[in-house]
């Protein structure tokens, strides 16, 4: 994952982009936690709040893979369907973790 390229594709220099990525992590960490807890509790409405937030913020920053997974989860939990959502969250968490690693590398 090349954050410099991603930032440039949006018209942002790398420092501005990483600042935004850090803000994305602030809400993203909370959203992921909320999403996991909501799915474990069978609370689709609460899961929807979290997936919707993740979808919006990842889409704003051009984080396509995270965005697409968030959209899939969002579509499902919105209609109260939690089937297979736990597996989708695992995929999303993996992509999220890759972004964390890329951001850490970038900051080094």
């Amino acid at each position: 994952m090349n954050l410099t390229q991603l930032g440039e594709s949006l018209g942002l220099d790398k420092n501005e982009y990483i600042e935004m990525i850090d803000l994305f992590f602030e809400s993203g960490d909370a959203d992921l936690k909320k999403l996991n807890a909501a799915v474990a509790a069978g609370d689709a409405a609460r899961a929807y709040e979290a997936s919707h937030s993740l979808k919006g913020s990842s889409g704003s920053l051009g984080l396509t893979l995270i965005y697409e997974l968030a959209v899939r989860i969002d579509d499902r939990v919105r209609v109260g369907n939690l089937d297979g959502v736990a597996a989708m969250i695992k995929d999303l968490s993996k992509e999220y973790e890759k972004l964390v690693v890329a951001a850490n590398d970038f900051n080094k």
């Binding site: 949006l10 018209g11 942002l12 600042e19 935004m20 602030e26 913020s57 704003s60 920053l61 051009g62």
Partner: protein
């Protein structure tokens, strides 16, 4: 009044609860040379706007508690912000177009990936240099409408319609007792515009005379961690109001209070009338049974008095006494008739602030 003047660059206020969105807008607007102030809630924005004016305000539409719609109305209706141009920045720009246009912002910009949103914002800012349009302009190039957002907006409108059609005045307060929502009935009750009420202290805005009483009730209800209710009755300008307070707990966190205000003046009057009717029914019942019970012995006394009158016709002194007995018994009989004829509850003064039933006015049977 600490009025801030734009210095050099035109001043911009950015309001969004989403830090990432604020950062994006700040980046775009700062690079255009604007002096940008950022706040992260509707309430912060309102506090700032009470003593500061901005040339431009970029507002998110959906925020917890005080949404961008209320702040937009506050700015567009408040004379001191007459020169301010409001830009609504919303993820529901396309779907909520009609509703947003009613708020009369200068422009509406669709939330989108950074590069797309930047283009739309720059285009929107460009319009400030030309002839200003009469109505809201939409900037949403490269953005598609979402059916999901439409559903959400429909749901939101549904609840707004219910709240605005309620006869009861509904207020929402934050944990500091600041008004964050009023429905139509609340605006009518206080005779004020929404923008005059939002951001005000409920106790001061509602009624100065009862401020302390309201503060105590609010403090009491906010300090509890569980959901609970409290009621207060207030007399304001010869009318009586019932205030039902209920704290609002969301996800285990106390987020404020709702207050439902009812004008109970008519209800109280009806209650008083009902009490009076019950009292009357009691009086009538008692009078009828007393009259019935008295009637029999009075008839016996009257009969004997008549016999006595016949038997002592030769004894003048005795006859006079028997006549007095007879006349007084007859008088009592007329009174018992009046008792049984009581149909209403009229009283008369009896000194020392005492009132007694006025038989003449209360009974349909007149004492002849």
């Amino acid at each position: 009044m600490n009025e801030k003047k734009p210095s050099g660059a035109r001043s911009v206020l950015v309001v969004d609860n989403d830090k990432l969105a604020v950062k994006m807008l700040n980046t775009i607007l700062s690079e255009q040379g604007f002096e940008v102030t950022c706040v992260y809630s509707g309430l912060e924005a309102l506090r700032l706007l009470t003593d500061t004016t901005f040339d431009l305000v970029f507002l998110d539409l959906v925020m917890p508690r005080i949404g961008g719609d209320r702040i937009c109305r506050y700015i567009t209706q408040s004379p001191r912000h007459a020169h301010t141009k409001v830009f609504i920045v919303s993820a529901a720009a396309l779907e909520g177009r009609k509703k947003i246009a009613k708020l009369k912002p200068f422009a509406c910009i669709a939330k989108a990936p950074y590069d797309i949103m930047r283009k739309n914002i720059l285009e929107a800012l460009e319009t400030l240099n030309g002839e200003l349009p009469d109505s809201m302009t939409m900037f949403a190039k490269g953005v598609q409408p979402h059916s999901v957002v439409q559903e959400l907006l429909f749901s939101q409108r549904h609840f707004e319609t219910i709240l605005s059609s309620m006869a009861e005045a509904v207020f929402e307060l934050d944990t500091n007792g600041i008004i964050t929502y009023v429905n139509e009935a609340a605006r009518q009750l206080l005779g004020k515009q929404e923008w005059e009420l939002i951001g005000e202290k409920f106790n001061a805005g509602f009624c100065q005379n009862n401020a302390a009483q309201i503060s105590d009730t609010l403090e009491d209800i906010i300090q509890t961690e569980e959901t609970r209710s409290n009621e207060l009755c207030l007399h304001i300008q010869e009318r009586e109001f019932s205030l039902a307070f209920r704290n609002v707990v969301r996800d285990g966190e106390m987020i404020g209070t709702t207050v439902v205000v009812n004008d109970v003046t008519e209800k109280k009057l009806l209650e008083q009338e009902r009490c009076l009717r019950e009292r009357l029914a009691g009086v009538i019942e008692m009078a009828s049974s007393a009259a019935h019970e008295l009637n029999q012995p009075l008839t016996v006394i009257s009969g004997h008095a008549q016999l006595l009158l016949q038997q002592c016709a030769d004894d003048e002194a005795l006859e006079r006494r028997a006549r007095i007995i007879y006349e007084q018994v007859e008088r009592l009989a007329r009174l018992t008739k009046q008792f049984s004829g009581i149909a209403s509850y009229k009283t008369k003064d009896f000194g020392d602030n005492l009132k007694i039933i006025d038989l003449e006015r209360s009974s349909k049977t007149k004492n002849e």
